[in-house]
Amino acid sequence: MIRGAFLGLETARKGLMAARAGLDTTGHNIANAGTEGYSRQRAVTSASSPISLPGAFFTLRPGMLGTGAEIISITRIRSQFVDAQIQYEGSASSHLGMLSTGLQRVEDIFGEPAEAQFSGLMDSFFNAWEDLSNDPESLAARTNLREAAQGLTDYVNNIDFALKREVEDINTQIRGQVQQVNTLTAQIAEVNRQITRSETSGARLSVKANDLLDKRDQLVEQLSKLVNVRQLDSPDGSVNILMDGHPLVTGGDAHELVLRSKSADPSKLVLEFKEGNFPAPLHSGEMGGLFELRDVQIPAVRDKFATLITAFTNQVNKTHQQGYGLDGTKGRNFFNDTQTRSATGTLFLPAGTTLDTSLDSLGITSGDFFIQGQRIEITPEEVLPGQALTLRGLLQRIESASVDIRAELNLDAGAPRIEISQYNPAYGTNSLALVDGNSNFFEISGLDKAVVRDLSLDPPYDNSLSNFRLSTSVLNSLDAIAATGDDGLGFPGPGDNRTALAIADLKNNAQALFGATYGEYFESTIAILGATAQTAERSEASQKLVLQQLEERRQIISGVNLDEEAVQLIKYQKAFEASARALSAIDETLDLIVNRMGTVGR
């Protein structure tokens, strides 16, 4: 077989083309050295198919003759594994970031530690009572007390307002982010379509729409910052974006998310898929952070605070009702008391149970439990057979622990059951707080504490904070402030300061709320808020570190190193030069053959 005379030329041309492609790719890399999301590309060349060359000499084995290089593809250097990790960790990081900044705003709302914040105002309130106890006749002390109390109620109302506004802000952000998510998924779907078109329209499979892929990767990454997503590649080059298994993007189709109002509370918008009306399984990303703030963190703080205020209101009112105002009237509230809902938890007891049934015969063990923050204790002696505490005694103990609790044996349904109801309206709508301790009273009495606890947590935006204000009587008349005690003989006298002393002493009540004073309880509220925020902040920082490392990892793989590209440049330049030289060598060979051969003897 005779080789074609021009084979060498063709080979050299291929060499030139390959070097040019290499140069172009390198140039593209250099040009995009600073481009966000860019992955470096490489021109992949390989030797083109050789020609077998049967030898003239049979002793020799037939040879294969190389036909030069050919460009197979221009490939992105990118690790899908790192990308997936970045998406995941990015979601987590932005979730924590959102939480951290959100909690910071909540911290700022409470403003502690600083003067003239809640803690200081509560101190002023109690001190004003102390001052009144020093001079119960004085209108100045009364004015001062009313101002202090007003300062406290205003502050609490403002906290309530600020927390509600915070929730509004969060909802506004969520609305914007839903819009963003929908835009992103639509874009991803569009890019999917473009990629599928370009990659399948080419004759060869190795055609890669590298820059489109980069763009899509970037969109997915942006999306992963907002919500938790997972990417699934499909064989046609498109990707499916899943949110906990539910598709957000399938090929060229995007599935929109919408916000819907599902509960009585208009601020509690729920994220759902537009088609199908099922909730989006959101648990990460910025939007996940916003939802957590709105539905978990803020209500938790608010709830603790509302519990404090409610208990505080009731304790102060309960004590205040014992005394007479300067006008000789008794039994008035100091703080407003206008809420209207009560809650009842019920369950049947063994038949034949009466108020005189002893605790031991009901199988109630010693220990404690908490009702409205008050610890109810049953001592071991009280459940001994024979000298056991009766149900009557226990119910009286529960009633006496909290002003607004009525505990009784209800026989309405034909069978006895313990009914604990909250009837003082001051607690607001979510106010029956039953917390189990180490006595089995709740199990035995069948008080469904889960349901009752729901009552205390479910509607987080009750009115106990916004309705925390002075009672009308105190607001209208300084004389309505009760400083005196009561001996059952009418107004004891203007110099009597026993109720003022008692209210001032409430600050030292170590059993005011869940075994703590009001101050301690508030401190723990602030400490918990601080700890939550600190955790979020620290997790975010470490998450960022992880993300940074991953991004570094990606840079290591996909990043453009200019030095490297310079070397490539030189390499391809030399290759090009060499190919050109090969071409001219062959050219000269041909020239020799064509022009100078056969001229011997001419």
Partner: protein
């Protein structure tokens, strides 16, 4: 490892920013000095910081409370120390004063100083700090002690208006301290106290009502002792504090330093059941009256109060007055008094105008126009020739010159007759009675004591030949004195043969309705005679002539329910009343006295009571000693018969009712007698007499002054030689002058003052008769009319002279000329100076009380000081803790800062080297 060009820049930037963050934070810390800004910076430290801040705030407050307490205690201490000084001086003076060789003048000087001490202590006891009375307990805005002034203008006793409230201060967690001393405890340690008998803690089981210091209390069988205590304590007007002792007795403590508690059963025998009506309690409560006995005047007013300014109208008005009879020397004149058109702003203006016009028309001293106050005018005639009669002065009609009256209706003189003079009391027939009803304002109150609208009281006129207005006046005044409801509130006066009844309380707040007269109580019984008319108080309604000051009788419209049966006595039912020695007037056991009720219908209980009372009134043995009263219970009226005198000495035998006509008492529903207000046995309740600083001072002063002399009982008087003057119950003191005499029967509680009043009554009210501090009676004649033949002597029941007494009045005899003075010999009440010596013991226990109070005050202040000192130490500790918790260590921050600064510099210089070069730089 591959390094991409972007990686170099981004990791450099990342490192740089983290260094800068650290620097910024350090810089912020160094600028603020604070270790944290937000709870997240250091949750535990923030919570601790809040805790420490709170502890500090409260600590400051506790110190403030303690300071305030110290302030109060030291103020109190100053006052108490001052009281101590006064008491020391009092002791000295008392010792001095008990020396019986002192002259009355010396003693008076000491008494004056004691009085000053007393006033000073009262002032101190009312000390107030920033307007808060420190000794008032909880009643800090109420003056601690109210002064009860006696008629002489000196303080007789004080009443505590505070309570036993203990004012506390919070001076730490679970630590408090009382910062006041109750004035009751200090100044009034023991006041008049009654201790009742042992009672159970359950329901009392007895019922009834009683009166305590003129306040009404009612007991029901279901009531517990504690409820009664609360009832009493809630009534601050009663001025009595009720306490239940450990063994369940009722203790009644007077809130007044010296005064006793006035108790009286109203229904049932509650006081006896409680055991708080002790021997003599009632007697102590009812100190003998010391009012002037008589005075006189009679008057007629306009029918209704005029309202000023009073406008006469544009055309003027004419008042026609007709004067005749004895009031006008038996010439009847009818004149028109022309009032010009004008407006009178005051009654005085109108009075002056009328007087002027009337004098012009009738001449001087014919008709007197009196301004009675309260918009009431009075027209009065003068006696010109003999007795003036009812028809001598008439208002209205037509004048002699034909002018028609237009003004009398306007002025309220509706055909008003002349003032009736009682020259001839022939109409008084011995069966005359009328009732006198005092209104709310006539009741004389002392220091906020509430006024009482008294029920009408029946008065009787004794029939006697030649009865004069003066006799009636004396008789009435005696009845007033004997009646505890009227005693001191109303008096009768005789003036120029006319009788005037007037309330002792006078002034603009007293109204016409405060003194009402009617012919009979109840009115169902037609008056036997027109008693008031006979006395000149009353005018016949049938003639259409108005009778302004006398209201119509009050008729009870209530049906007479069958409580004692609608009484229709078919026969003359008679029963008898038997009074024992403690209820009879002269202290003897009387024989039963019959009451005869004539057959007939008695439609109301009041009517029956009035009838029985009239019978009682006719019997000198029963009169003023026993009475029938109408009691209403559960809507039914009952007629009760009760003794006027009360007290624990009274026995059931002191009032017995016996049938004369068989079944008479049963007919009347009168069962077995109960003992009114009295205990069955003596000394059932224990009395603790006042023993307190205030009482000691008042009493020592009074003993020294001899203020008590007027209250000395005649039967307890002694001569200078400490011998009895021999005067006993039932003896009669005859006061003679100007050829006539009056007699005063000595009763158990007749006092020296009563005697003085009786002397004044007899000798004439122009004389000044008074009991002096040393127990002498001084008679002074300021008038130009001499009094002739004065003689004061006592006789026993057998008519024998009582020489001891007569000796005292030896000098009070003969004629008393103009500006003449007569003084009886000095008398002593038994044991006056011995009592003074005993008082030293009271003073000593008072001083002891003060000293223990002072030491208590001192120790409390010490405790407060200690608290403040402790708090200061604690505060420093807390502040240290807070500083180390809240604030950063500056040295550390600055070290860290310079460290970070170096790191930053290093990073920057490294960065500048690493970032700069690239292979491209070296390609040619």
């Amino acid at each position: 490892m591959r390094i991409s060009s972007q990686l170099i820049t981004s990791s450099f930037l990342g490192d740089l920013s983290s260094i800068q963050q650290r620097l910024a934070r350090l810089q912020h810390q160094s600028a603020t000095g604070k270790a944290f800004d937000r709870p997240r910076d250091a949750p535990a430290a923030v919570s601790r910081s809040l805790n420490l801040q709170r502890a500090l705030t409260y600590l400051n407050q506790y110190s403030r409370n303690a300071d305030d307490g110290t302030n109060r205690l030291s103020f109190t201490e100053t006052a108490v120390t001052e009281v101590q000084a006064q008491m020391q001086r009092l002791r000295e003076l008392t010792v001095q004063g008990s020396n019986s060789y002192l002259t009355p003048a010396d003693r008076g000087a000491i008494a004056t100083e004691v009085n000053q001490l007393f006033e000073q202590v009262i002032t101190l006891s009312n000390s107030s700090l920033r307007g808060r009375y420190v000794f008032s307990g909880f009643q800090t805005l109420t003056r601690s002690f109210f002064i009860n002034a006696s008629s002489d203008g000196v303080t007789s006793s004080v009443s505590y208006r505070g309570d036993s409230g203990q004012i506390g201060r919070n001076i730490g967690i679970q630590r408090d301290l009382d910062v006041n001393v109750s004035g009751r405890e200090l100044f009034m340690e023991q006041t008049y106290t009654l201790t009742g008998k042992l009672l159970g803690s359950g329901a009392l089981g007895f019922a009834g009502s009683f009166e305590m210091n003129d306040r009404f209390f009612s007991v029901s069988p279901g009531m517990k002792l504690s409820q009664l205590r609360d009832l009493i304590n809630q009534d601050s007007e009663a001025g009595v504090e009720a306490v239940i002792s450990g063994d369940n007795r009722l203790l009644l403590r007077s809130m007044s330093s010296s005064e006793s508690i006035k108790l009286r059963d109203l229904s049932g025998t509650v006081l006896e059941d409680l055991g708080v009506l002790p021997q003599g309690a009632f007697n102590l409560a009812q100190s003998a009256p010391t009012l002037p006995l008589t005075d006189s005047r009679g008057a007629i007013h306009t029918s209704a109060a005029l309202v000023f300014p009073l406008s006469i109208g544009t055309a003027g008005q004419t008042l026609v007055l007709q004067l005749g009879g004895a009031a006008n020397s038996n010439v009847t004149d009818s004149k028109a008094i022309k009032l010009d058109a004008k407006s009178y702003n005051t009654s005085a203006e109108l009075q002056a105008e009328l007087q002027k016009k009337i004098d012009l028309a009738f001449g001087q001293e014919k008709i007197l126009v009196n301004d009675m106050g309260g918009g009431v005018l009075e027209l009065e005639t003068f006696e010109q020739s003999g007795a003036v009669t009812l028809s001598d002065l008439r208002v209205g009609g037509t004048a002699a010159d034909g002018t028609v009256d237009t003004a009398s209706a306007l002025l309220g003189f509706n055909a008003l007759p002349g003032v009736q003079e009682v020259a001839d009391l022939a109409g008084v027939d011995g069966n005359d009675r009328f009732s006198l009803d005092l209104g709310l304002s006539a009741y004389r109150t002392i220091n906020g004591e509430p006024a009482v609208d008294l029920a009408p009281v029946m008065l009787n006129i004794n029939a006697a030949a030649g009865l004069t207005a003066a006799d009636v006046v004396a008789d009435l005044n005696k009845q007033f004195l004997a009646n505890k409801f009227l005693s001191g509130l109303v008096e009768a006066r005789e003036e120029g043969g006319r009788i005037r009844l007037q309330t002792t309380r006078q002034g603009k707040e007293v109204f016409g309705t405060d003194l009402l007269l009617s012919n009979a109580v109840g009115g169902a019984v037609a008056p036997a005679t027109d008693t008031l008319g006979a006395l000149g108080f009353y005018r016949d309604v049938a003639t259409g002539i108005s009778a302004p000051p006398v209201p119509a009788s009050v008729f009870s419209t209530a049906a007479y329910p069958p409580g004692i049966g609608a009484i229709a006595l078919g026969v003359n039912d008679s029963f008898s009343i038997d009074l024992g020695p403690s209820s009879s007037l002269d202290g003897t056991d009387l024989a039963p006295q019959n009451i005869v009720l004539t057959a007939g219908a008695y439609p109301t209980a009041a009517g029956l009571a009035a009838e029985i009372n009239s019978q009682i009134g006719l019997n000198p043995n029963l009169k003023n000693a026993v009475q029938a009263v109408v009691r209403t219970a559960a809507g039914l009226d009952y007629v009760d018969i009760e003794t006027v005198g009360r007290g624990s000495r009274m026995q059931a035998a002191d009032l017995s009712l016996l049938d004369v006509t068989p079944g008479a008492l049963a007919n009347l529903g009168l069962g077995a007698p109960t003992v009114p207000g009295g205990g069955g046995s003596d000394g059932q309740g224990d009395i603790a007499l006042p023993d307190n600083i205030m009482d000691s001072m008042a009493r020592i002063r009074d003993e020294l002054y001899g203020f008590a002399a007027g209250e000395s009982r005649l039967v307890a008087l002694q001569t200078e030689g400490r011998a009895s003057i021999g005067l006993y119950q039932g003896h009669k003191i005859r006061i003679s002058s100007d050829g006539s005499f009056k007699e005063l029967t000595v009763q158990r509680f007749t006092t020296l003052q009563d005697l003085a009043s009786a002397i004044e009554d007899k000798l004439g009210f122009q004389l000044e008769v008074k009991v002096q501090r040393d127990g002498t009676i001084q008679i002074f004649n300021p008038s130009d009319t001499p009094v002739q033949g004065i003689k004061i002597e006592a006789f026993d029941q057998g008519g024998n002279p009582v020489n001891g007494f007569n000796q005292l009045f030896r000098d009070v005899s003969g004629n008393l000329p103009y500006r003449g003075t007569m003084i009886s010999a000095q008398v002593y009440e038994d044991e006056r100076f011995a009592r003074l010596t005993q008082r030293i013991g009271n003073v000593d226990s008072g001083i002891e009380k003060i000293l223990s109070t002072l030491s208590e005050l001192g120790s409390r202040q010490k405790r407060l000081e200690l608290t403040v000192t402790q708090n200061e130490v604690l505060e420093v500790n807390l502040q240290e803790l807070q500083t180390s918790n809240d604030f950063v260590d500056m040295a550390e921050v600055i070290t860290l800062m310079s460290q970070q600064e170096n790191v930053l510099r290093a990073a920057l210089s490294t960065g500048s080297r690493v970032l700069q070069p690239s292979l491209f730089d070296f390609l040619s």
